[in-house]
Structure formats: structure tokens, C-alpha cells
């Protein structure tokens, strides 16, 4: 059976409970008696809080306490990113936040909080308080390049020109290389917009005292990191806090930041350990949690007549919002990818991460790669067109070749992944026929088809620590519970992990039980899920720990069967003598005997940590086919096919679900989503699900997901990252398809009717008397 369980589309272990509605998320677990916290947010984009008059708010029936930024006596600045901590100060995340601040840096910054008996009283108090704040308003800046100019408002004193970090890479000499005769220069600006994660469960946490410690239950991807940050934010020992993560209603990177856990814990402590709940309304989730970075890329390539690259440059300006959160990591990922995706001997790259007076940008599915992929793959298309080459053949010619080795990360491209994915995707969607069919169209309604790829690697080695810990505990019947630091947030980590344990331990899947709820008091240390690392990293600690346990089981079996360990194995829940395949006893009989034997009783359990010092490329592609109604400036996505190589697919049903979700997020990114701020006031304009719309049921075509399976040699189970990659190639594929249909290649997202209108009028595709 062991060969069968990996690669099987078993249903999620939590699916039944979720279908019954009995899975408990954070709010479902909180006692009804909890006091309710509502955060008072700044209504200026940059300023100083002079005074907050709390007297009126305190009179409202049901209001228990009002806290303001002036109640913070000791200022402990803390970092919020869900990164593994570094004991080396030079590699630590920037600590620039306070639980409440008198120096708000964006519209929505946290300047106070109300604690009330119910939501209604809290909401009333917030309305009153908003009118009771005296600000000294300061000029603000919303755009990254504007923020770098002399005289722009400075957000953080230690960061001149608001530049959080500026990094460069140089390979060969661009200056020399472009002297080569016969080169074609292609350059473009590529601009992506800020969007939000929109997990359906908003961020929520609650806190209460227990002994001399504080327990925080939180909807987070990173419980162990959250505990560390709470300690840092409150200036207390980390062990004074216990963080519990129940089931999570989606994270997508937003919950890879520490959001309001420190404030909630602080308030509980101020109130003697009272149970307090901080449930973030959707409006605040949009602007007071994290968002995706807006990035402007500028890319130039010099092409030889044969379509190869002589030299390439890129520059990127990354709008980070008011606080560092993940800092320069998002920009760095794009910069790192640039020379790898389309390798070239002569490369200059430069990127700036810039503070602005906007909502804080952090991690979001893809971690900078949807932006970078948009820029890189729009540009690749532009290069192919300039060289009059088929865009797909152009990519095949120039993409990272098989055998490519990256010295820093030690990543190697072991398989012909790109071509295999292209071939499969092209066949599914009928790419070559349609490219011909859609060439040279006229008329109002036109179709187009195109492809895009991306660069991605799994996990965060060697930039940061990669570690995974696992504990497996055997019951008297031979079934096991397991615990991991890699959190289940909806992606199916528990199920995939159980399949791995079942495989390695040799017991049926229904004998493997995840302890899904992470608790920093109980769960072995782990940094959570992000960077598409889950299936890759947990595999190492699972295999190591399952083998440890297996060894213990077989040693115990030796006691009862008298057979040497090297002649024993566990198959399908039975202790087998390998020499003749005879079943000697069931694992249940063994576990029972071992626990209750009066000679050498032992609790069969294993726990281990594995530090991962490898990483793996994870590539794929997206084909998109569109129909464009030119006069009405509308795009209809007809077909979308993603093909990914994530190594061995442990569970095809869950894996294709990851692709569908990424495609869906990519469709919204490409066509409709954009967070907006008022240029005059810095106020967010569309921070609710009425005005900001992710794509709904009727906006989707059928989503087609497929795989190329090249066993990843560095991996414990042949797997590599899949969570984030599917979102990366979608927007550029749609952009390129619109280009094929209309001849207009638009370098801005989203490709909404209004954007198309502007581009179509400018190009004279529609009546140009309206040209803006």
C-alpha cells in the first residue's frame, strides 16, 4: 500500500467536519463573555496625535475601557514579519511598529482602542472617538517614486528619502555588451497595482490570562513567530505567552504577519487578564492588515538578431506602505529572479523599497513574484514581438536551461520543466491552432491566446533559517497523532502530511491523525506556512521522525517476535518478516504489548528537528484565451490552463485545488482588483467587498489545472512548492492574450474596462475623440 498512498487523491481529513459546519475557527471558540475590542484608527494619512478626549466615549453604556496611544508608557518597537528570527542583528527584521502610536503614518494606523461589552457599544464609541482626536496634520506621500524625492515627507528618521533598502546586482558589463553591433533594444515600464488577500475569515484573535501568562488564540499562519513578536512588542519574556492557532479561514500571506496579537495581549494584561476579543471588520482588514506591494518595473533588453539576449537591465520601485513588515524581501525576490529566469551574461538590476503613507504591504501569495512575473513576461512578449518570433518559441530559446545551477541558493534545474509544461499546456488548450486562427483578425469582437511563465523557488533557504520539527505519538492500537509547526490554513497541509506518515511508517491513512490546532505550549517549534514551503519542508522532518518511530517499533517488535530488526518491516499496519513476507503481528498488537509489558514498557513516540539546507525550483506556465469586445472595452476570459511541475504530486485533488485558487486570484489581479486611495486626503476609497471585488462565480471560465511530475531529487518525498506559483503567470498571460487579439500590449494592471478604454482610445482602436 505504501506506493499507493502518495499520489492518491484522498479527500481532505477535515473535509467531513467542514461540510458539517462543526470545525471551529477562532471566533467559534471564544467564550460569549469576551469583551470586544475595536481599534481606533487614524483618519489622517500622516500626522501627530495631539490629544484624544475619551470622556464622551467612556459615557456610552457598554463601554468598559478606552485606551489611547498615550497609555503606552514604555515604547517597545517591534517587527511584524513572519520571518524566522535571526540572532544576528544585521539580519533582523526592522522593528518600527508600536501596538498604538501617537505618530500615525497612514490613514488607518492604530492610535487607540475601545473595550466594550458588545459590538454595538464599541462601534458607537469609535464613532465618537474619531471626532475627539486632535491631530497635527502633516503632508503625506502615496507614491514610491514621489516619496524618494528631495523634500518629500519623511516617514522614518533612520531612512533618508524614505528608502527602506536599495540593492543592486551586476553581472558582466552591460555597458560593454551593448556595443555589439546589430542589437535590438526593447524597453518598457510595467506597473502592478495594490490588492488585498481577501481570505473570507477576517483576521481575529482573543487573549486571556492564565497563571502569570497570557494566552492568545489567533487566526494566524505563524503561531510560534507570533509568540516571539508578542514578547518583543510588550517587552516581556517570550515564554510568558502561549499562542494557539485553531482552524484558519484562509491566510494567503496576510496572516504571515503578526497583526493585532500584541495589542490584544497588551489590553488583556492591562485589564488583569480579562478575556478580550479583537475581531477585525472587513473594512479594516483591507487597510489595517497587509496588502500586496504596488511595484513599478522598468526593464530594458538588448537582443541579438538570433533572438538571444546580449544585455538586460531592470529597475523596480516597490511601494511598501508606512511600515517595514517584510521589508526588502519582496523586492529582493524579484531582483533575484531577474537574472535566473532568462539568463544573460550582462545584467544590471536595481531595486528600491520605499516607505509611503499608505497601508502596509506585506506577504501575499507569490511574494512579489506576481508583480515580477507580470513585468518579466510582458517584457518577454515584447521582446519576442520585436524580434518577430513566436512568443512561445522565444521563451523556449531563452528560458533557464536544463542543468542551470544557481551558486548562491544551490538550486539546480534538474528537468526540462519549462518545455514539458509548455507542451502539455499547449496541447490542452490547442495553442498552436488558435495562434494561427486568431492572427490578423478585424472587427469589433476579437480573440487572442497567449502563454506566460514565471520563476519561483520553494522555501526561504539560504536567505533565512529553514527548519521543521515533527512529533509522532503512537496509541495503544497502533494509530498515531502527529504535530508539526507547519500550519493547516486551508491548503491541505494536514492531509498531505498524513499521507507521508502513512507511507513512511507503513500504516493505513485512517490510523494517522493530525493535531491540527497548533499550540506553542505543545506543538514542536516550527515557523509556520509561507513561501510555498509546507509540503517541501515538513517532508524532511516527517520522514526523519517517522523513520525514528519506525525504528523504535521494529526494535519493540524484536522483543515480541524474536526476529532481528533488519528482517522486519511495517506494511499496511502489520509487522512483516521481510524474508518470507509473513505477517507476524499487527501494529496494534505490538503497540499494546509494548505499552503494557511488565518488562521494558515504553511509550512509542518520536520527535525530531530537521534543518533544511536546500531549496528547489518550482516552475510552470499559464495559457489564457480571451475574447475582447473592443467598442465596449471588455475582456472575457474564455479558457485558462495552468500546468505546474511541483515534483511528485502527493494529492492530485488538493494540488489542483491550489492551482484553481491561484488562477482565481490571478484572474482578479489581471482584470478587476485594485485598492484605491484618495490623492487629496490619503483616505482609502474602496475598502469593502462592495466596492472592491474579487472575481465571483460568474467571472470565471472553467479552470484547468494539470501537472508535469519530475521527482525533485533534493526533497524528502520528491515534492516542491505549489501554493504560490499558480497565481504568478496568470495576469501576464491574460495581458499577452489581449495583445494578440487587439495588437495592444498594455503594461498596467488591472486590465479593467476603464484601463482598456484609455489604451484603446490612445491607440485609436476606438473613437479617439475621447483620448485622455
Amino acid at each position: 500500500m505504501s506506493k499507493e498512498i502518495l499520489g492518491q487523491a484522498v479527500t481532505r481529513l477535515d473535509a467531513r467536519d467542514k461540510a458539517m459546519g462543526r470545525i471551529k475557527y477562532t471566533d467559534d471558540l471564544c467564550d460569549k463573555g469576551a469583551l470586544v475590542i475595536r481599534v481606533l484608527h487614524s483618519t489622517v494619512a500622516n500626522g501627530i496625535v495631539k490629544k484624544i478626549d475619551t470622556s464622551e466615549a467612556e459615557k456610552i453604556p457598554g463601554v468598559v475601557r478606552v485606551f489611547t496611544c498615550f497609555d503606552i508608557k514604555e515604547k517597545h518597537y517591534f517587527p511584524t514579519a513572519g520571518h524566522p528570527w535571526s540572532t544576528d542583528p544585521h539580519h533582523q527584521d526592522i522593528a518600527d511598529r508600536l501596538v498604538m502610536t501617537d505618530r500615525p503614518l497612514f490613514y488607518g494606523d492604530d492610535i487607540g482602542a475601545v473595550v466594550a461589552e458588545d459590538e454595538v457599544a464599541a462601534a458607537q464609541a469609535i464613532r465618537v472617538l474619531e471626532k475627539s482626536v486632535e491631530y497635527e496634520e502633516l503632508p503625506f506621500v502615496l507614491d514610491a517614486q514621489e516619496a524618494m524625492k528631495e523634500g518629500a515627507p519623511l516617514l522614518h528618521e533612520d531612512f533618508p528619502n524614505n528608502v527602506l533598502t536599495h540593492t543592486e546586482i551586476h553581472m558582466g558589463s552591460v555597458e560593454e555588451a551593448i556595443k555589439e553591433p546589430g542589437l535590438t533594444k526593447v524597453e518598457g515600464w510595467y506597473h502592478t497595482q495594490p490588492v488585498q488577500h481577501c481570505h473570507i475569515e477576517n483576521f481575529i484573535c482573543y487573549a486571556y490570562g492564565e497563571g502569570d501568562r497570557t494566552v492568545v488564540v489567533s487566526s494566524t499562519q505563524i503561531p510560534h513567530i507570533a509568540r516571539r513578536v508578542i514578547g518583543q512588542a510588550l517587552g516581556m519574556d517570550w515564554g510568558k505567552f502561549r499562542v494557539i492557532k485553531p482552524y484558519v479561514g484562509g491566510g494567503f500571506g496576510n496572516k504571515q504577519d503578526v497583526l493585532y496579537e500584541p495589542l490584544c495581549a497588551w489590553i488583556s494584561i492591562q485589564m488583569g487578564g480579562r478575556l478580550v476579543k479583537l475581531d477585525v471588520p472587513r473594512e479594516e482588514t483591507f487597510i489595517c492588515n497587509r496588502i500586496r506591494h504596488e511595484i513599478k518595473y522598468h526593464i530594458t533588453s538588448w537582443m541579438r538578431p538570433d533572438g538571444s539576449f546580449a544585455a538586460r537591465t531592470m529597475k523596480a520601485w516597490v511601494n511598501n506602505g508606512a511600515y517595514s513588515s517584510h521589508g526588502h524581501a519582496i523586492a529582493a525576490k524579484g531582483l533575484n529572479a531577474f537574472p535566473q529566469l532568462y539568463p544573460c551574461d550582462n545584467i544590471d538590476g536595481e531595486t528600491w523599497t520605499v516607505y509611503t503613507n499608505r497601508s502596509v504591504a506585506g506577504a501575499m501569495r507569490g511574494y512579489g513574484m506576481p508583480q515580477a512575473s507580470y513585468a518579466f513576461e510582458c517584457h518577454a512578449e515584447d521582446c519576442a514581438r520585436a524580434m518577430k518570433m513566436d512568443p512561445l518559441e522565444f521563451r523556449r530559446k531563452n528560458l533557464m536551461p536544463v542543468g542551470y545551477y544557481h551558486a548562491f541558493s544551490k538550486n539546480e534545474l534538474y528537468s526540462d520543466t519549462f518545455n514539458q509544461c509548455f507542451d502539455k499546456g499547449a496541447e490542452i488548450i490547442g495553442y498552436y491552432d488558435k495562434v494561427k486562427e486568431y492572427a490578423n483578425q478585424t472587427g469589433d469582437i476579437r480573440r487572442g491566446i497567449a502563454v506566460s511563465t514565471y520563476w519561483y523557488n520553494t522555501a526561504v533557504y539560504p536567505i533565512a533559517l529553514e527548519t521543521s520539527s515533527c512529533r509522532i505519538v503512537m496509541n495503544q492500537d497502533g494509530s498515531v497523532q502527529f504535530q508539526l509547526g507547519e500550519t493547516e490554513i486551508g491548503q491541505g497541509a494536514d492531509t498531505v502530511a498524513a499521507q507521508m506518515i502513512s507511507d513512511t511508517l507503513g500504516i493505513p491513512l485512517d490510523m494517522v491523525h493530525p493535531v491540527s490546532c497548533q499550540d506553542t505550549d505543545v506543538t514542536p517549534f516550527g515557523t509556520g506556512v509561507y513561501a510555498s514551503r509546507g509540503t517541501y519542508t515538513l517532508g524532511f522532518s516527517i520522514k526523519q521522525t517517522a523513520l525514528l518511530l519506525k525504528q523504535k517499533v521494529l526494535e519493540a517488535a524484536n522483543q515480541f517476535t524474536r526476529m532481528p530488526v533488519y528482517n522486519l518491516d511495517i506494511v499496511d499496519g502489520n509487522i512483516i518478516r521481510t524474508t518470507d513476507g509473513r505477517k507476524l503481528m499487527t501494529i496494534g498488537e505490538l503497540a499494546l504489548e509494548k505499552l503494557y509489558t511488565t518488562e521494558g514498557s515504553q511509550h512509542l513516540t518520536a520527535e525530531s528537528t530537521y534543518q533544511i539546507r536546500s531549496n528547489a525550483y518550482s516552475f510552470g506556465c499559464c495559457f489564457a484565451e480571451v475574447e475582447v469586445d473592443i467598442p465596449m472595452c471588455r475582456v472575457r476570459l474564455l479558457n485558462i490552463v495552468n500546468v505546474h511541475d511541483c515534483g511528485q504530486v502527493i494529492n492530485p485533488m488538493l494540488a489542483s485545488g491550489q492551482i484553481h485558487g491561484g488562477q482565481s486570484m490571478g484572474i482578479g489581479y489581471a482584470l478587476s482588483e485594485k485598492l484605491l486611495w484618495d490623492a487629496k486626503t490619503g483616505k482609502p476609497l474602496n475598502n469593502n467587498l462592495l466596492d472592491y471585488k474579487m472575481s465571483s462565480f460568474m467571472d470565471h471560465p472553467r479552470l484547468v489545472a494539470d501537472f508535469v511530475e519530475n521527482y525533485e531529487p533534493t526533497s524528502a518525498y520528491g515534492t516542491k512548492g505549489l501554493g504560490e506559483p499558480p497565481v504568478c503567470p496568470v495576469a501576464p498571460a491574460i495581458r499577452n492574450a489581449i495583445g494578440q487579439a487587439t495588437g495592444l500590449y498594455i503594461n498596467e494592471l488591472p486590465l479593467s474596462p476603464h484601463t482598456l478604454f484609455r489604451e484603446f482610445t490612445d491607440a485609436g482602436l476606438i473613437n479617439d475623440s475621447f483620448a485622455e
Binding site: 473594512e283 465596449m632 466596492d691 465571483s696 488591472p750 475623440s769 475621447f770 485622455e772
Partner: protein, 265 residues
Amino acid sequence: MATQLLMAKSPEEAVNNKTATAAFLAGGTEVNRLGSDIAVKADMLISLKKCSGLSDITEADGYITIGSMCTFQDLIESDTVPCYLKEAAHFMASRTKRNMATIGGNIASLRSDSYLIPTLMAVGAVLEMEGNNGSCRIGIAEYVDRSEADALITSVTVPKEIKVISRRFANTAQSHAVLTMSAALTEEGIWLDGAVKNVGLLHFCDLEKAFREDPDISEEAIIEMVRVCTGLHTADDMFGSDTYKRYLIAVTAYDLHKRLVGKEV
């Protein structure tokens, strides 16, 4: 913030209790949502759910009369309601909201992204109103002009046989519309009405006149008319630029007219 609720048993009771600080509450999709100005400004909400006689759909002399508390889904499922109105009701993409939102509520909220009003204006719908001075009937265009917040819409009457086409433009199926436009063909010619986001509910008289005077008028001429129209107060906002909205009005009007009078219907 409204803390009081009156469950009115009849339209009369609802109207009698309507003070300046009270607001009518129909299906709830507008008033009950978080952030609704209406519920924040009012002291009391007057729920119409238990009002008798507001949910009937009847037919007489070629006209259909629809009770104001009929939901969008009621309209869609009715055998009597004309198809053009069902089409407009379908503009509300969410089924669960269609089960709640009412025709009367959608009219009374006078939203500039109204689902139904453009269609109702194009067909010259007549509203039966219950006010402090008894009941009266007014055309929907008049209602839109002078919004009688204290009077209650009890029913909406629309013609059964009329050629109407409606269009809605939004970024996604569930987004607010930047433009909803309806055109109806009557004996007097084409009637053209629309809802333009953040501009309002508009009756496009000039365009109607242009189409009547020259049924073969070119698209370019219509575009130029709308482009320079000073009576149209569109502005740049998050739903699109001034020019985008004008362009969309023009090409949609032209397209609807062409389909209505031509053979493309």
C-alpha cells in the same frame, strides 16, 4: 444610530410613524449592511415586512402592477412580470440578495448604480404612493426628481408589451455598475434612461431627440454630442474617468437604439 424598530402592519401605520428621524426598511440589503448611512442617521427603522398587501403581482389592461415588497427573485420567478424587468432583476448577481432586495427598496434608495430604475424609467413606470395625505400615483421620473422620502411606495405599474433593452457595465458580475442603461421603444420614439455611478439617475432627452430627428445618425455624432454635453456632470472617480463614462453612455445609447429600431433585436 437606529436602536428602535417598528414592525408596521399596514402601509398606513408605516407612514403615520414616519418622522424625520425614521427610515423605512424593506428587504434590508441596503439599510442593514454594515456602514449604511441610513441606519446610522436614523433613530428608528420602520420595517415593512409585515405590511399587508405589498407583495401582490396583478395584471390589468396590458399593465402589470407589482407590490413594492416583491423581491427581485419574486420578479424573476413570476409568470406575469415582463421579461425586460426580469432581465433587470438579474443584474443583481447574488441569488441570496435577490431573495431579499425588493423593487420598492431599490427605487427608494435612488442609488446611482440602481439595478431597476433605468428600466422602470424607460418604460414610464408609475408608482403608487402612500403618504400623510393619502395615496397618489406619480411617474417614476417625477419621483426620481423630487424624492419623497416620507411617502411610501406601495406598488409599481409597468406596461406589459413594450420593447426594451437594458445593459449594465461593471468590473465583475457582483461589482457596482458604472453605467446601467435602458432603452424602450414607444409610439413617440425611443426612451432612454440610465444610472451613472456617482452622477445619478438620468433621462437622456437630448439623445432621444437626436435619435428621433435622425434615426440614421452616426455613432460619431452621438459620441460627439455626449462628449461636449454640459448638462452631464460626470467626474473622474474610482469607477472610471469622466471621459470613460461619457464614452460608455454614448456607445451604449447608440448600440441600444440600433438594436431597438433595427433588425438586430
